[in-house]
């Protein structure tokens, strides 16, 4: 395959030699050599396609990290609590991220991002212009899950015509846990019929602006349950526990409750904050219709750590759809049996208990009998997502994952801009120096190096831009550093190749065979060394935390691109250019002038013995 193009170059010896070198590696080298144009076109198509993709996606610039764009970056580290070393695992971390995201974005922050890093860190990036103090408070606090009895509840907001949904939904929901167990896959299928509470599935859309909050009406009516199956918050008389909290505190609570308007985000986050588990409190939550509902809640009877695990399961038996099963710890089971026993005697809404996560009611199922046996299920018309979300929250609340602020970095937009600028200038200076050096040393050849560097830079830029929306890649300062350092690695691939070619020229080959002969050996060197470099980047990326990761990512990316560019751009381009008179003829500015390289005339031709070898081989 190699022969056709080698042959025209004349001289018998070089050609034959080349042929031998290339022959063992037919595949790539041969095709790249015989069809350099094809590789170049391929490369061009790839570049154009990626660039087109970039413009189509609407992300013309790489997403900037906090240190370049300004904002606050908070690193939280999960703290191991005694005896719970296994609590820090990917599942729990993901749940924590989910919950933090909910909290931060609940602040009205747009584009805040929360992601895990390493095995125990969570990074929260809050863009500039948001209240970082508040964000820190929000994410820093440990999620607390409580089961509190509902004392009173009503839809917060005028558009909610309080219609008691009462027991209409009750018929559908209760299901004995015995049946649940098999599907829920808990080992200890308890025989005791514990029963299901039917909750109001938490919905997402938010109640619209209210003109006036309903004043507390003593007999609370609840969710505007138009669909019987969906919402299940009935109303009833006071629960025992609630009556305990009397007197002054009670009055205060009533006042708070009256004033509370859950449709307002700020009030919502304030509601019940700082309440101790043993106190009664007020809280907000959304019902199945997405309306905000406010609650007066009794002291926490069961807390999140009493839940052993919760799972979302699909009930195939009673066709009730998705539901959530909970297993309690033995202590929790007793407490839960006690509270449900008490609640079951009450009337709606006081036969409900509220599952309160971070002072927000995520679910308010009612009970109609004491649930003993340590497991329970919550059914209702959940979608799969809702059920899983609730199960996550229940599980999460049951975990002693608490977080500690490891680092908080606040960067003003001004400094961010300055750093970005400095990084770009440094890159430009570095690139310019490299270009000048190459130009001086390699002359004409450096144009090829320059073109390759530009292609490489363009690809890096485009891919970074695309990776922003795709995998949440954000360009931060270390990443910029990585890119700058990579200039050296990329340029070195050309140096390796050029030096090889020049060595061949020095041995008296004309340029075209020299280009082809030098390639297989340069290729191996490039691959081996790039592999080591990539290995370093990969290891760094996997084990490192914090800023190191951004650096490692860029370094790995650029190393990969380097290989791509050398194979599909530099080499074919050199092959093509070797056919031109300027390079092929060894013009003195081409950087390949045999005389300047100190090439020796190919005396070897006079040496017959060597030639004899060839026939034997062939």
């Amino acid at each position: 395959m190699a022969r056709p193009s080698a042959r025209p170059s004349g001289a018998g010896r070089p050609e034959r030699e080349y042929e031998k070198v290339a022959a063992p590696k037919k595949g790539r080298s041969a095709s790249a050599q015989s069809r350099p144009g094809r590789a170049l076109v391929l490369m061009l198509i790839a570049v154009v396609a990626l660039t087109g993709g970039m413009f189509a996606s609407g992300h013309h610039t790489p997403r900037l990290g906090i240190d370049l764009a300004g904002g606050t970056s908070i690193t939280l580290t999960a703290v191991t609590e005694p005896g719970q070393a296994n609590a820090i695992n990917p599942t729990n971390m993901d749940t924590a991220v989910e919950i933090m995201e909910r909290r931060v974005n609940g602040l009205g922050v747009s584009e805040a991002e929360v992601q895990t890093q390493g095995d125990r860190n969570i990074i929260v990036n809050v863009p500039k212009g948001t209240d970082s103090e508040q964000a820190r408070e929000q994410v820093g606090t440990t999620a607390k899950l409580y089961f509190r009895p509902v004392v009173a509840t009503e839809v917060s907001g005028t558009d909610a015509s309080a219609s008691p949904s009462a027991g209409s939904s009750a018929a559908a929901s209760p299901s004995p846990s015995a049946s649940a167990d098999e599907s829920a896959a808990d080992e200890e299928a308890s025989s005791s019929p514990s029963d299901a509470a039917s909750p109001s599935a938490s919905a997402t859309s938010q109640g619209r602006a209210v003109t006036e909050a309903l004043k507390a009406d003593p007999t609370p009516s609840d969710s505007a349950a138009t669909s019987a199956d969906a919402s299940a918050s009935p109303s009833a008389s006071a629960s025992a526990s609630e009556s305990a909290g009397s007197g002054e505190a009670d009055a205060q609570l009533q006042a708070q409750y009256a004033a509370l308007d859950c449709t307002k985000a700020d009030q919502r986050s304030e509601a019940g904050s700082g309440a101790k588990p043993a106190d009664s409190t007020v809280a907000c939550g959304q019902n199945a219709q997405g309306q905000w509902q406010k609650y007066v809640l009794g002291p926490a009877e069961v807390d999140g750590t009493d839940v052993d695990k919760a799972e979302a399961v699909f009930d195939t038996q009673s066709a009730a759809g998705w539901k959530v099963t909970m297993d309690f710890t033995s202590k929790g089971a007793d407490k839960f049996a006690a509270i449900t026993g008490k609640l079951a005697q009450n009337q709606t809404p006081q036969n409900q208990f509220a599952i309160v996560l971070d002072n927000e009611v995520v679910s308010d199922p009612y009970v109609n009998q004491s649930i003993t046996g340590g497991n329970a299920e919550i059914s209702g018309s959940f979608t799969q997502e809702e059920a899983q979300g609730l199960a996550n929250m229940l599980s999460y609340g049951a975990l002693p994952l608490s977080f500690k602020e490891s680092s908080v970095t606040t960067v003003t937009a001004a400094l961010g801009g300055e750093q970005l600028e400095a990084g770009l200038i440094a890159g430009a200076i570095g690139l310019a120096l490299v270009v000048i050096y190459l130009l001086v040393y390699y002359r004409g050849l450096s144009l090829i190096a320059l073109a390759s560097l530009l292609i490489s830079a363009a690809l890096t830029y485009v891919i970074m831009s695309l990776l922003g929306p795709a995998i949440g890649f954000a360009l931060n300062l270390p990443a910029v550093c990585g890119a700058i350092v990579a200039i050296g690695i990329t340029a070195d691939s050309f140096i390796v190749y050029f030096e090889r070619v020049r060595d061949e020229v020095r041995e008296g080959r004309s340029l075209r065979p020299a280009v082809e002969r030098g390639w297989p050996r340069a290729r191996r060197t490039i691959l081996v060394s790039d592999f080591v470099s990539f290995l370093a980047a990969a290891v760094l990326f996997v084990v490192s935390v914090g800023k190191v990761q951004g650096f490692a990512f860029t370094l790995g990316l650029t190393t990969l691109l380097d290989v791509v560019v050398v194979f599909f751009f530099t080499k074919p381009l050199l092959t093509l250019l070797a056919r031109t008179k300027f390079f092929g003829g060894g013009h003195k500015w081409s950087g390949l002038d045999p005389k300047r390289l100190g090439a020796r005339p190919p005396l070897r031709r006079t040496r017959r013995p060597a030639v004899h070898v060839d026939p034997k081989e062939a």
Partner: protein, 371 residues
């Protein structure tokens, strides 16, 4: 270029060259000396660990009318700890307070904003809990360990275990020197430094690997000839890749120099500066070690092989013979590859091996004439 080009050509042909392998003990000595100095520096002075590793806060404030020393007083008052204030190129200041936790540093920030009469929102704050730095450092060590193991395995497979050992030694050498310089000069160690240090790993090996690649190629059929010993060929391969090594190092250092210039000159201090500083030191050490340490070490190890010992014996015997005939043949040392072996002892050999043979043929006579 022409001069450099000629130099390259002459190095390539081995007309000129430095006998790295023969002088290896000199360079081992130099390296041992530097390493001992580095370790001593590390032992006596220790590393100047940055805020990120011991916990604390770094505030960067924009240009104010308050002087640096005054700001230091303010910061110390607010924090109750020592504060270090640096003036930045942009006119702002960088205030470091160590030993405070993240909650406390909020108060300090507010206080500073008041004292320095700047808006609190204009102050950049980097608050680091003490265990965070530990975590970063632990991860870095972990990464270092994993990387070293993987690389040694890889090199042992791709090349051979001797080269893996030599590369490993060279790598340790580079890291020790870099860390030692940090201890001696008292540069602050930050996550940026760690990044730089870890990158050196890759780079140092990158360089070593290229030299080894050429070494492997040139010694492929070494036992089939009797002209050159392993050490001599090793030396040749260093010399022939010398131009590339120098170019690579220069090209790698140039962007880093750009970073260092901008990071140090314009921003004063920070991530860019830290990364580029450790890179700069490490890259220089890496280029040095791949030439002066790694390859001679491989030669040393190789010469212990019975096969190579036998080869050396044969080579020396042959030389002794030819010295009788022709005393000057010896200074051909690096001049010719091992090609003039019995006319193609292994006819079935293809490719690269053949090339040095022919190359040599062309040269046999001229070099003969030279003397």
């Amino acid at each position: 270029m022409s001069k450099l080009g000629n130099l390259g050509a002459r190095l390539h042909r081995g007309e000129i060259g430095y006998d790295f392998v023969a002088h290896r003990f000199l360079w081992y000595g130099v390296s041992v000396l530097i390493t001992v100095l580095a370790i001593a520096g590390l032992g006596f002075r220790g590393l100047n660990m940055g805020i990120e590793f011991q916990g604390g806060a770094v505030f960067t404030v924009p240009k104010t009318s308050v002087s640096a020393s005054q700001a230091e007083t303010y910061a110390e008052e607010a924090a109750g700890h020592d504060a270090i204030v640096q003036e930045l190129g942009s006119g702002g200041m960088r205030i470091q307070v160590s030993g405070v936790d993240t909650a406390k540093s909020d108060d300090i920030k507010q206080q500073l904003a008041q004292d320095l009469k700047v808006d609190a929102d204009d102050i950049n704050a980097d608050l680091v809990g003490p265990s965070w730095g530990e975590q970063i450092a632990n991860k870095a060590w972990q990464g270092l360990g994993i990387f070293l193991v993987l690389v040694v395995i890889y090199l042992a497979i791709a090349f051979e275990w001797r080269m893996a050992v030599a590369a490993f030694v060279a790598l340790i050498h580079d890291i020790t020197i870099t860390v030692g310089i940090y201890a001696l000069v008292g540069f602050e160690v930050t996550p940026g430094t760690v990044i730089g240090l870890l990158t050196i790993l890759g780079y140092s090996l990158y360089d070593t690997v290229v030299v080894f690649d050429s070494l492997k190629e040139q010694t492929k059929d070494i036992t089939k000839q009797t002209r050159w010993t392993y050490s001599e060929i090793a030396n040749r391969s260093i010399n022939s890749t010398l131009v590339r090594s120098v170019n690579t190092t220069v090209v790698a250092l140039l962007p880093v120099a750009g970073l260092l210039f901008i990071g140090g000159g314009v921003l004063g201090a920070g991530m860019l500066n830290d990364i580029s500083l450790s890179l700069f030191v490490g890259l220089a050490a890496g280029a040095y070690s791949s030439i002066f340490i790694a390859t001679p070490l491989v030669a040393d190890l190789k010469e212990r092989e019975p096969q190579m010992k036998a080869l050396k014996k044969r080579v020396l015997a042959k030389r002794a013979q030819s010295t009788d005939r022709d005393t000057a043949d010896q200074d051909g040392t690096a001049d010719e590859p091992y090609g003039d072996e019995p006319e193609d002892a292994a006819p079935a050999v293809v490719g690269p091996r053949h090339q040095p043979a022919t190359r040599n043929r062309g040269r046999g006579r001229p070099s003969g004439k030279r003397r």
